[in-house]
């Protein structure tokens, strides 16, 4: 087991290195990084000074060595806007994003399992068709549009909820969570439904029925556990996909998370922050994938990783 985790960590490290190298060389191959890093209206004196200070006048290979050395020591450079270490800014923003993402994913997993199982119980019934079509709708909506429509309805017209902002008050969280949940929910309901239809027709379900077990217990205890593997796989993919949604939701609702930090950094051309947030996000994603693989083993003893 430990060997397996080691192997996966190594694979992830290779992926990360490819990413770091690609970002570094793309930024240098496509033009003068001084132009990329400095504000557009910077004058020549500033550019020259910057190039000398950042070592951009030295050979590319040497620059790369210095860069890798710094990254390995957790030094991504200072934010060009705030003059603070980029990594600090990223690590400050992370808890907000994680809280949002995990709450949303927990909601999605529970609700999609319930709704998808109900639909799978009688395939082709009115309930099933309603669930199928509404999950398709939920998976097709543009989240940014739902977000601003919801602001218009609940915050501007009805004035039930704040338009945006961040705080411990639950009212700040309702709209962002509601919008964030939509697309993964729509996707996952379809997977749960398909997986449950297959499971409910298997022999052990029939045995459970013959034993006189209650239908609720059969569906939610016996069948759902066995239908869980494909659900977990898709849920992991959706969590990664949720980062797309997070960027948009955090921007619209003004949440001080990693998505907003990243967009602001891109807009302000704050390259060290962009780089640091990308790398930290990538590490989080690779960790998630390893955890999902371990969850497989916990759920299905037949799977053994070597």
């Amino acid at each position: 087991m430990l060997r397996y985790i080691g192997k996966r960590a190594l694979q992830s490290a290779i992926g990360l290195s490819v990413l770091i190298i690609a970002v570094f060389f793309l930024a240098r191959l496509t033009g003068d990084p001084a132009k990329l890093l400095l504000p557009i209206n910077a004058d020549q004196a500033l550019i020259d000074e910057f190039r000398a200070r950042e070592g951009l006048d030295r050979p590319v290979i040497e620059q790369f060595g210095v860069y890798i050395w710094n990254v390995l020591h957790g030094d991504f450079g200072a934010s060009l806007r705030r003059h603070r270490p980029a990594l600090d800014m990223v690590l400050e923003a992370y808890p907000v994003t994680l809280q949002l993402a995990f709450t949303a994913m927990a909601l999605v997993l529970v609700s999609a399992s319930l709704v998808g199982s109900v639909a799978a119980y009688r395939p082709g019934s009115a309930v099933d068709r309603t669930v199928t079509v509404s999950s398709l709708i939920s998976a097709s909506v543009p989240d940014f549009w739902v977000a601003i429509s919801a602001i218009l309805l609940f915050a501007v017209t009805l004035q039930w909820l704040p338009t945006s902002g961040y705080g411990s008050d639950i009212r700040f969280w309702l709209l962002p969570l509601g919008v964030l949940v939509l697309r993964p929910f729509g996707m996952l309901v379809q997977v749960v439904r398909a997986s449950m239809i297959a499971t409910l027709s298997s022999a052990f379900v029939r045995t459970a029925r013959i034993k006189g077990m209650s239908e609720g217990r059969i569906i939610y205890v016996h069948a759902l556990r066995n239908a869980l593997l494909p659900i977990i796989t898709v849920a992991a993919d959706q969590t990664v996909g949720m980062i797309n949604g997070l960027v948009i939701i955090e921007t619209i609702f003004g949440f001080p998370g990693i998505g907003k930090l990243m967009i602001d950094a891109v807009m302000a051309r704050d390259f060290p922050v962009v780089q640091a947030s990308i790398l930290v996000t990538a590490i989080a994603i690779f960790t998630l994938f390893i955890l999902v693989d371990l969850a497989y083993v916990a759920l299905d003893p037949r799977i053994r990783h070597r």
Partner: protein, 323 residues
């Protein structure tokens, strides 16, 4: 995978033993030969989706012909005009803060939005299926390298990837298409590779190889036609995903830049006038949703008619099913 199973052949080869058997055979034959458009009529949602796409295509090809200057014509008298007939037919969906009518803007935006999504999907399809065929048929080190690359790309959120590339390169239409295509490539690559791995072991591929067929010939003539229907289903789902991605990027301000018009950009611009003129953001967003939903519905219909285990659901009409 196979579209139509020619049941009628077996009926001719084996003479019918009893009248009943012949009738059964006959009824099966009749059902299996329903053309695709009749199966489309049976599925109301898919039918409505196709109609919406036909309307959109009319927008794309006819809209710019008559309306491109109307879409940018400033008319301060109709500033933020609400939907309705008060300012003439062109302003039926309202007008923006410069009095530019929303309907023609929507039509011109449809062309950009759909063209970007379409070309991205086609690029991803061509690139992905090509690499997937190499990875599946040739394999070896090259195949492994391709797969690892696909792993790296697909394990990273597409929006972030697009963000980096559009940050480093310029937010130009070509770059946008390129980025969207690259982020979607790995799906086609994986599916193609998996199918090729299975198909290349079949007898007819061996036969073709024994007859001296080279790899390009086998891939083109024997493997590609069998992979195509699966890829077709993915293309329609992907079309919706790419459209949403492009709209999100344009909405965030790193996709298409004004004065070009796309639906995502229209939502972004309308967002500033949310309280005064809600229709500016609502209408283009609704257009995006209808289009992605239609693509998803068509895809689920395609999946049903390509799946012999499910096709009957559409072939048997309600009346037949309940005698």
């Amino acid at each position: 995978m196979s579209h139509l199973i020619p049941v009628s052949d077996t009926a001719e080869v084996q003479p019918a033993e009893t009248v009943a058997a012949a009738e059964l055979q006959e009824s099966v034959r009749v059902r299996r030969h329903l053309p695709w458009w009749r199966l489309l009529l049976r599925d109301k949602f898919a039918m409505a989706s196709v109609i919406w796409f036909v309307i959109l295509l009319a927008f794309v090809f006819l809209g710019p012909l008559f309306l491109s200057e109307k879409a940018t014509a400033v008319n301060l008298a109709a500033r933020n005009a609400p939907p309705g007939f008060s300012h003439g037919f062109l302003n039926i969906l309202g007008a923006d803060p410069l009095g530019r009518p929303l309907l023609p803007r929507l039509m011109v935006g449809a062309r950009n939005t759909l063209a970007i999504a379409f070309s991205s999907v086609i690029c991803a399809l061509v690139l992905g299926s090509f690499l997937g065929m190499i990875a599946g048929y040739v394999g070896g080190i090259i195949g492994n390298l391709i797969m690892r690359l696909a792993d790296v790309i697909s394990s990273f959120p597409s929006l972030l990837l697009a963000l980096i590339v559009l940050y480093i390169l310029e937010p130009h239409v070509m770059n946008l298409v390129l980025v969207l295509a690259i982020t979607r490539t790995s799906i086609y690559l994986r599916v193609t590779r998996a199918e090729v791995l299975e198909i290349r072991e079949r007898a007819f591929v061996d036969a073709s190889r024994a007859l001296g067929g080279g790899a390009p010939h086998i891939l083109r003539r024997h493997i590609a036609p069998l992979v195509a229907p699966t890829l077709g289903t993915i293309v329609t789902v992907d079309f919706a995903a790419v459209m949403l991605a492009e709209s999100a990027l344009s909405f965030l301000g790193i996709g298409i830049q004004p004065p070009e018009i796309t639906w995502g950009l229209m939502v972004a611009q309308g967002r500033n006038y949310l309280t005064q003129a809600w229709w500016l953001a609502f209408v283009p967003g609704a257009a995006i949703m209808l289009t992605t939903l239609s693509a998803n519905l068509i895809s689920s219909w395609l999946r049903i008619i390509n799946d012999p285990a499910q096709r009957w659901r559409l072939e048997i009409s309600r009346k037949e099913a309940k005698p």
